[in-house]
């Protein structure tokens, strides 16, 4: 029996199968060769021979196919021999033979239900570890801060002022614009609903309470988490990658005192100021909207606002601000210090700093709501 292909010939005589390779056995032809070789029927052969004397060019993928062919023939207990290996191919073929046949580790058996369970468990344990780590870090920062209180000279004032500028002053445009727009939106939506009852004037109450109590500070916190919390994580993380943090430790400098404390203090100081600014801009947006769509003049608006909201409504918003600032800075610095080695890790922890930061801010906001309702404020 004789059959032909353009890259090998097959001869079967007296139970001896000869596969004679010819032409180019390279990666470009590998796919066609692979299919062709699979069609070879070796069931009637007792012994086999792979003749390479007419092989013109072979690369490592081609040689791999030769090994695969040999293994297939010999798997049924047949004797297989390579013949006619040309001198210029010998080194390559030898090298490939020495390095293949090592199976890749097969992927772990996979069951979707178990995978879901595994992921849930893993996430739960990670969340627990995250919480413990954060508590640990909170303690560390508190102790360092107390030491700073006892010896104020240790607080880095230049660094503090520089951070205050970056997290506070530089945030004014974006916080102001967003608050103004949210003020417009709340006033517009409120007026739209309240007009049906003919009580448009209560838009001012709605606006005052929602902006001062919740929206102003929450919006500020979310913007700050996005622009400053992430910046803290990225800055400290990059220093971690460059081993700057390690260098500080070997020089006897405390990274918490030098890197973390000024950032935390800056954000604790800047957040209430930003929150007040956000309140003002939000109310301004509402006032503009009220004037345009409800014909409530600025004077009416302010009078109404004075009657509608008490001082406590304002203070409740402002009291929350330093706490939110503290949480955002704490998370940002903690994630930054958790960065290990690679640039990828910086990105990962920066993302986490924003996600966890906003999560904790909203959690704390809920806790404040409960606290204030218990205190009947």
């Amino acid at each position: 029996m004789t059959s032909e292909s353009d890259r090998f010939d097959i001869v079967l005589a007296d139970g001896h199968l000869t596969v004679a390779a010819r032409g180019d056995w390279t990666i470009g032809a590998a796919s066609a060769l692979d299919t062709g070789l699979r069609r070879i029927d070796a069931r009637e052969a007792r012994s086999a021979e792979i003749d390479l004397s007419r092989l013109r060019v072979v690369d490592s993928t081609g040689a791999l196919l030769l090994v695969g062919l040999r293994d297939r023939f010999s798997s049924d207990g047949r004797s297989v021999a390579f013949t006619g290996i040309r001198a210029e191919h010998a080194a390559l073929i030898e090298r490939v033979f020495a390095n293949c046949g090592r199976p890749l580790p097969s992927p772990m058996p996979y069951h979707p239900l178990i995978a879901v369970l595994e992921r849930t468990g893993r996430a739960a344990i990670e969340a627990g570890q995250e919480a413990v780590g954060l508590l640990n870090f909170l303690g560390l920062v508190t102790i360092t801060a107390l030491r700073g209180l006892i010896r104020p000279a240790r607080i880095r004032f230049v660094s503090l002022v520089s951070h205050l500028e970056r997290v506070g002053f530089d945030a004014l445009p974006i916080v102001g614009l967003l608050s103004f727009l949210i003020g417009i939106v709340v006033a517009y939506q409120g007026a739209d609903q309240l007009r049906r009852f003919g009580t448009e004037i209560f838009t001012v109450n709605l606006l005052g309470v929602s902006i001062l109590r919740e929206m102003g500070v929450l919006l500020t916190a979310i913007v700050v988490a996005g622009r400053s919390g992430s910046a803290f994580a990225a800055q400290i993380g990059t220093m971690q990658v460059n081993q700057e943090v390690d260098a500080m430790r070997t020089l006897g400098l405390d990274p918490v005192e030098i890197l973390v404390l000024p950032r935390v203090l800056a954000l604790v100081l800047a957040m209430p100021l930003l929150a007040v600014y956000s309140d003002l801009m939000g109310l301004a947006g509402g006032a503009v909207m009220s004037m345009v769509s409800l014909d409530i003049s600025i004077v009416q608006f302010t009078e109404r606002l004075r009657d509608a909201v008490g001082m406590w409504t304002f203070w409740i918003g402002v009291i929350k601000a330093p706490v939110f600032g503290f949480l955002i800075a704490l998370i940002g610095c903690h994630e930054g210090l958790k960065v290990t080695g690679s640039a990828e890790s910086v990105g990962h922890h920066t993302t986490r700093s924003v996600v966890i930061g906003i999560f904790l801010v909203i959690l704390a906001d809920a806790a404040f709501s409960i606290l204030f309702s218990v205190l009947r404020i």
């Binding site: 796919s31 791999l64 695969g68 210029e88 090298r95 990828e344």
Partner: protein, 256 residues
């Protein structure tokens, strides 16, 4: 693979590159012959890596031509460039592995992109290349961040060999390796070059590598290259070349 012709596989003529106003190369001529190991040496900032990047098309020259397999890379369309890039492999300094993929997946990337091999054959080729680069098979399932610097380079080498290239470009292959690891890597490259019939262009600082595997050496000095064998460069009187090949480290490498 066979020496069908004496046409150089890489021919660089009057190459001129610059960054801003700083001229890096001015009138560089370089021929790389089939099957040789060409080392590119030069001081820090002499433009070794820039030359390599210009040859493989990551950096564009201001003037001059780069021909690879007789084709002018400057006049190539995108498709021809892609086809050409399957005929060379590049090992970057840190390995440049894709960090979100395992070693095996990294090696399989060019195979999946440029060939129509069956998944089983891709697996087999991947295993072969990982083995040829001298990595243990349990490295296949690991991510780059779990590997040491030396293993990362070997994994990068496995990926650059995935498509059975004819030319292998190496950017400082032994930088950052310990002397034993560097010597192992040199001999690995030498073995692969001989058994696979590769043409190797290697940027290096490492004098031991030059003595171990380089056939010819291109020295980048004063924005030009001076090409020669080790012996001819030892005779060269250019101050930098003489300092390089006769400094204390060079003597240690020569006697080693």
């Amino acid at each position: 693979m066979n020496a069908q012709n004496d046409e150089p596989v890489i021919r660089v003529r009057s190459l001129r590159t610059r960054f801003g106003t700083t001229v890096i190369h001015d009138g560089v001529d370089l021929d790389v012959r089939r099957g040789e190991v060409m080392a590119v040496v030069g001081g820090s900032g002499a433009g070794k890596s820039v030359l390599l990047n210009t040859i493989i098309g990551l950096n564009r020259q201001v003037a001059g031509t780069v021909e690879i397999f007789g084709q002018d890379t400057g006049r190539m369309n995108e498709a021809a460039r892609r086809r050409l890039s399957t005929r060379w492999g590049v090992l970057f300094q840190q390995g440049a592995l894709f960090s979100s993929l395992t070693v095996a997946e990294n090696v399989a990337v060019p195979l999946k992109e440029h060939t129509d091999l069956s998944p089983a054959l891709i697996m087999a080729v991947t295993g072969l290349k990982v083995g040829m680069a001298g990595l243990p098979s349990d490295a296949c399932g690991k991510y780059p961040s779990e590997l040491s610097g030396g293993m990362r380079k070997r994994a990068g080498l496995a990926r650059s060999l995935a498509l059975d290239p004819e030319i292998l470009f190496l950017d400082e292959p032994t930088a950052g390796l310990d002397p034993i690891g560097a010597a192992d890597f040199d001999s690995l490259i030498g073995d692969l070059q001989r058994s696979l019939g590769l043409t190797v262009v290697m940027v290096t600082h490492d004098l031991d590598s030059l003595y171990a595997i380089a056939d010819r050496i291109a020295v980048l000095v004063d924005r030009h290259v001076i090409v020669g064998t080790l012996d001819s460069l030892l005779e060269n009187s250019h101050p930098w070349i003489s300092a390089y090949f006769h400094g204390p480290r060079a003597r240690a490498a020569a006697s080693g």
